[in-house]
Structure formats: structure tokens, C-alpha cells
């Protein structure tokens, strides 16, 4: 069975600082990996995804993530955050061939302070 661990439930940072949100997964088969963002009182929005190919994936809003198969990780990074990046971020995994059925982590609340 799959599982996703987001190692930090809350990450406070100052504006313009770099940030890394950590995600580890477990699965016995090949996977697809996703990061979603949820702003207050909204649904989730896809930030980026890894399906195959280059392990460095670039997404919207200046975010990127790197798939590391040996460490079963898919950490999300941004070199300089803005106040508007304050939101909850979810990592998710899907086994290849599972009709894109996702298992989500419990989320990381990123708070960007001025």
C-alpha cells in the first residue's frame, strides 16, 4: 500500500527567503508524484507533477520539485517566497496503472511573514 509523509505540518518563513517543503513516499511499484496548493476556502490547485522523464520538475508560481527515487522523496522548493504563497501544500502519489488514484499527505501549512 502507498503512503505519503509530509515531514513538517507547519513551515514559517520570512518573505523573500527560500523554502523547502519535504515529502517522502512509500510504494512497491512505479509512481507518479504531485504537489497541490490550497488557498483558504478554496479547492486544491495543481502546482506540478512528475510522470516520467527529467527528475527536476518546474511548476507554476516559481515552484519546482525534484524526484529522488533512491530516497523516495519529492521535495518542493522555491528560491524566494512571497506573502501570497501562504497556503497549505499537499504532496500526493499515484501508482502507475491505478487510474490516477491518489494518496495524499496530511499537508504542510506554509506561512510567509513580512
Amino acid at each position: 500500500a502507498q503512503s505519503v509523509t509530509q515531514l513538517d505540518s507547519q513551515v514559517p518563513v520570512f518573505e523573500e527567503a527560500p523554502v523547502e517543503l519535504r515529502c517522502n513516499y512509500s510504494s512497491s511499484v512505479s509512481v507518479y508524484l504531485f504537489w497541490y496548493v490550497q488557498y483558504p476556502n478554496q479547492g486544491l490547485q495543481l502546482l506540478l507533477k512528475y510522470l516520467s522523464g527529467s527528475t527536476l520538475v518546474k511548476g507554476i508560481n516559481g515552484f519546482e520539485a525534484e524526484f529522488n527515487k533512491s530516497q523516495t522523496s519529492f521535495h518542493l522548493r522555491k528560491p524566494s517566497v512571497h506573502i501570497s504563497d501562504t497556503a497549505e501544500y499537499f504532496c500526493a502519489v499515484s501508482d502507475v496503472g491505478s487510474n490516477y488514484k491518489l494518496t495524499f499527505g496530511k499537508g504542510t501549512l506554509l506561512t510567509v511573514n513580512p
Partner: protein, 108 residues
Amino acid sequence: DVKVTQSSRYLVKRTGEKVFLECVQDMDHENMFWYRQDPGLGLRLIYFSYDVKMKEKGDIPEGYSVSREKKERFSLILESASTNQTSMYLCASGDTQYFGPGTRLTVL
């Protein structure tokens, strides 16, 4: 742009009522999903459907059923609502999952 709409943003029901949550997508997606989101637990999959009249149980299907009579519409049904079903319900559509805005259901 893909649009996923949910019938209500906020809903208040009483224990024992039958509750219908509806989700409609406009992109001819085969896959549709229903999740519930609770603080500290993230999103948990209730049911999903990969075609009309096809459905599969997710991780927490107990107390729920679903209906998919048309490709664009996926309904979540609470046969007899209970207080522990108070939650945010999110519908998603497509392979990489476009989400609706959510329905916050309160069961009194």
C-alpha cells in the same frame, strides 16, 4: 479552462437525513473522485469512478454511496447523515485531478 463545479459551498443537514452532493465537470474526463478533507488528516478518498456507471471504493467508503449516470456528473450520497460526516467534501476530475471549490457539510 477546466471547470469543476459542486452544487453547494455550504450545507447544513440533520442527523438521519439523506444528503446528495453533486459534482459536474465540463472537460469530458473519464475519471472523477470524491474526497473528504479533515484538519490534520489531509484528503482521504471516498469513492472514484473511471467511467459511466463504474465506481470503485476508496479508502473510507463506509456510510457513503455514489452515482455516475452521465459522464459529466458524479454524485456522492450520504444515505443517513451522521455527525461524524461533518467535513469538507472535495470533488476532482481528470487524470491529474482538477478540483472543485468544495462543499462544507455540517451535520447537526
